[in-house]
């Protein structure tokens, strides 16, 4: 039984890594209607900037804050000078552009900082707490709590604020939004900037655990996308819960379902997606929308 609970807790902690990336993907999708493959790349770049700053003697918290500011600016510039050209065209092309951006960013990180592994200092200690017979590190708790906070903020942004509403309006129909006086271009830049800034938070949270490399989030990307689809593209709460579900079920299936095992546990999120979407096409928490890839 202890093992079972420990596996659940482990799954939540792994799920939080997926959730961090998934939240940024949801944000940019809500704000521009795009699935952004480069989101992980932007997060890694931000983590490198923060890491580089700490090496220059900047305190960790300040370094992370600076990397967040850097990412906001970078995200806004990417939107203005790259994505703008593709936003009204074929969505497939826009997605491929984000893939190209991911490749480019990974290459830039490898060029500037090599493909050597780097240790990213953690905001939270690695000390362990024991609760109900399971052990969990303060780092995992801290990461998870930080992600919950981000999730709540995002949910509030989209549901309650004028900015959130404006970002969504622009993503849905830029022209109509402009007819209501929304500065479409600036809002798109803000949307990308916010998503990139959120990515910087995500990068700083998961880098200590994953070890900083240019491809640090490549493997997590697929899981994050799965969480985004499973949770529903429109719901920050939904994708975080979905990411946790994926993390937990994956572990449980690997250990307790003989034919799946640790090698095929990666199939779990996809089986889940398939089953859920047949029943609820809008995802677990999503509002019913017409999805355009």
């Amino acid at each position: 039984m202890d093992k079972f609970i420990q596996l659940v807790v482990d799954g939540l902690s792994t799920g939080s890594v997926y959730a961090a990336l998934a939240l940024a993907i949801v944000l940019v999708h809500q704000a521009t209607g795009l699935i952004n493959f480069a989101q992980g790349g932007l997060a890694v770049l931000a983590a490198y900037v923060a890491w580089w700053l700490t090496n220059q003697g900047v305190p960790l918290v300040l370094a992370i804050l600076l990397s967040i500011v850097f990412s906001f600016a970078l995200g806004a510039l990417v939107e203005r000078y790259l994505m703008r050209r593709f936003e009204r065209g074929d969505p497939d092309t826009a997605v491929v552009v984000t893939i190209g951006l991911l490749t480019l960013i990974t290459g830039v990180a490898g060029w500037l900082w090599t493909y050597n592994n780097q240790q990213f200092p953690s905001l939270f200690s690695l000390e362990t707490v024991s609760l109900l017979g399971v052990s969990v590190s303060i780092r995992s708790i801290g990461t998870t709590l930080a992600i919950v906070v981000v999730m709540v903020l995002l949910q509030a942004l989209f549901a309650g604020t004028k900015l959130g509403l404006a970002l969504r309006a622009v993503a849905v129909n830029p022209q109509s939004a402009a007819f209501s006086g929304l500065p479409v271009g600036r809002l798109l830049m803000v949307g990308w900037g916010l998503a990139a800034a959120l990515g910087a938070v995500a990068g700083a949270l998961v880098a200590p655990q994953l070890t900083l490399t240019p491809g640090m989030l490549d493997n997590a990307l697929v899981y994050a996308l799965a969480a985004v689809i499973l949770g529903g593209l429109t719901s920050p709460v939904g994708v975080v819960v979905a990411a946790w579900i994926i993390g937990v079920l994956e572990n449980l299936a690997a250990v307790y379902v003989g034919f799946i095992g640790f090698d095929l546990k990666v199939a779990v999120p996809f089986i889940l997606i398939f089953v859920v979407l047949i029943v609820r096409p809008q995802g677990l928490f999503g509002r019913k929308v017409v999805v355009r890839v």
């Binding site: 552009v97 480019l104 830029p174 240019p214 979407l277 890839v293």
Partner: protein, 364 residues
Amino acid sequence: MARVVEAPASSAASSFRRRPWVRRAGPLVLLVVLVALPLMLPEGANDTLARIGVFAVAVLGLNVVMGYTGQVSLGQIFFLGLGAYVTAYGVTNDWNIVLVFVLACLVPAVVGLVVALAAARLGGLAIAMVTIALPIVGVPLAKRLSDYTGGSQGLSARFTDAPEGTGLYDDQWQLYLVFLIGGTVFLLTRNLVRGRYGRAFAIVKGNENVASSMGISPYRYKVLAFTIASLIGGVSGFLYMVVVQYTSPETMSFGHSIELLVAMVIGGAASIVGSILGGAFYVVVPDLTNAIDPSLTALLQGALLLVVLFLLPGGLASLPRALTRGRRRSRAGRGPAAPPTTPSSTTGSGTAAEEPETERQGHA
């Protein structure tokens, strides 16, 4: 790249193509070039052309389901890998090569059919996620089935040395095989997408409700397109073994599936010529970036991709159109550009259904 002439580059060029002597002579010239080329080119060029052929076929398959039918598939590489495994297994067990080829087409097609029967019920991103699962689960699955796949060490199968008596070098023989098999697939696919089925695909892509109201079952045509794409993927897997002669789980890794999608868009979605250009992009760009600086390949590849799409959002296949437009613009001085009413189809894939204005296409 002589096949470029097959493409309706612009409306003027296609009316040129309609001239009777061109219609008769064009394919003939093409045939002569295809026969002569392997004999004249150096070995390295033949190898490169053959690899381009392999991935052009894979991209063509992806185009059938994604470019022409509008269903996002991120799993195409899985079918290439499956075809390659079937080929490698058959060859190492000394099966008849024709049987091996047929199985390399059929096994992926059947698997594709089964997957599509389930996945085609979903739409949009959901179908993308289900297809993403194919390479992601395929890699560990291939390792688990190591009795058939050789596990992570993979399978080698050297069965395409030039037969004695032909007097050909291996690379020439392999390129002929690619031309023959790949060319046939391209020809058949071209006829498919220009015919009744192609029109149905286009209508399904344009608007599923319209399709239903016209008596075209979107579900059935999506399944059909996906199955054909899988079959073509299997063919590309067979050709992969013809040229590379080795396969392992790495062959079908998820990253390559993404690269195939990139190649399709860069070449030009819903375009026969675009598939060839996409295959060329897939193969040539890593070689090219290696030649520039092998330690900066990722950076250069990303940059190149962005530059190409920035200049040609419609992909490489839209280059002639872009050039014609540019020329027309410069001729007319400061005159206005081509009317937006000109059909944007690069392919002449028949009557594309009038696309209803979706909400995102607001701006004029």
